[in-house]
Amino acid sequence: MDEKARAIEELYRARYSRFLNTLVTITGSWDRAHDAVQETFARAYAARHRWRGDSSLETWVWRIGLRTALGFRGELESARLNGSFDPLLVESMRDPLLADALRALPPKRRLVVFLRYFADLPYAEIARICGTSEGTIAATLAQAREALHDALVEEELT
């Protein structure tokens, strides 16, 4: 097995669950999310020679992942990744307050939240995936955190 193949396998084994939890916010079901993750890594594995190393392998695979998940939802895979789709928390009953608070966020901010808290990605990676600056991501997350904090505290107090 070549070096890139090994790196993709290692990434898959280490991050499968993070991909699954993030992509399910786009596909809407766990089964479709699993298929999306499998397809994501299959596409990456088959096209690994096209990864030139100008972004991290993980960033490259995440971009494939988001486009694949969009494809599973029946939307154009060429849709822009910077907020042109609408991810949602599935199984909202597991934390209804958080689900409501997330729903109140604009879709782009919601995606950034999911990439941060489900995918555990650093700001710089999220910025590269979304095609924006690290500062924009930091600001977006700060606004999202503030909005979520306010909504959750308010709900829990009432």
């Binding site: 397809e39 890594f41 594995y45 979520l148």
Partner: protein, 417 residues
Amino acid sequence: MTDPLHVRFDRIRNDREGDWQDVVRRAKGRRRHRRLALAGALGVVIVLGAPTALALRSTIIDFFQSEPAPHRLVLDFARQDAGAPPGLDNRVIYEQTRKIFERKLANGRSLALWVAPNRRGGFCMALVGPRHPGGFGCLWEERPPIAPGVEVRGSTSPEGVIRSGPVLVSGSVGDDRAETIELHYQDGDVDRQTLTWVSSPIGAGFFLFDVPEEHWDRGHRFERLVLRDDEGRKLYSEALTLPGPPAIDPKTGAPSEALQQQAQKLITIRTHTGVEAALWTAPAPDGRTCQWLRLGASSFGGGCSARAIHRPLLAFGQSQGDGVVLLSGGPARPDVAEIEVRYENGDGAVVPVTKGMWLYEIKPEHFPRGHRPKLLIARDADGRELARRPQETKAYGAYPCEKPIPIPNGHGERACP
């Protein structure tokens, strides 16, 4: 300081394990897709420059671009796991059922191959015609070079003589170098066709042979499937025969695989001759269900069905002997509650299903042509139709008669009309 949102998201996170081998398999399917698409483009150049170099090329289908199944078929796929023992369900992703191809048979009818991926690392498939619900089959993670299936969708005598067709050889191919598949016959004839390859997540090639009538008789039947690559090199060969009558215990009439200490006399009926007909069942050691019929002290044949995970809605057989004709079926899916029998002359009957099995006698007034069963319908407990199977009404030898006549098979055999 810990971000409280991290804690909150961690609580709702779903930790599951992936399946790397499935990723690799899907990736290989994608590579094949691209390679053959390129080969197709180059093929045009070859045809222009050197027509004699043209070789048979398999077809490639992008699974997600294929025609989605209609709702009733999606439901059929969804029902396949109903009643499957724990661990033996196929976990079919039924909402992704899609059409792979549709072929016209020699009898003028069409059959379509529908395939859905499953979460066992494989796929499930069904050959469905406008008047035939089709038999379902599934592969899990393993991709054998050839996974063939043989179906006689007509009638066969107890001695194994095919009375009516179609006779179908279909299945999937897992060797991704294969471009063509050949069906070799005992008399040296060969039928050849290109494979229809389906992209990830299916990652397999498919074929369907409608065996011509001249190859139904012994000495002319199929005997082997052969896979070849794009240069005609043999990749794999597998013997293939029509399933013969099963080995039977001469004392009880039970198939030899049946665990007879667990045998159960499930259904009994009193025939018009006054003799008891009984349908017996017993499990086989590998989990299959065996069934056999007895008429009085005589064995009436039997066999062991496919595994429960492949239970068809309406599978049945017709047996005759000592002036008695019996229809028996099963194991049916758990939601099949009764079978309606409709006759050519307008008569009808409803047969209850007991633990997935049923037994019914066709009385002598329904032996002559024009009076025979023409349609069987499976219904659930609420009377909803689940499946229907037209019944051959003009087959030779299916019903007793006073004067057998020569049948047009070229061998001088005689049978009842």
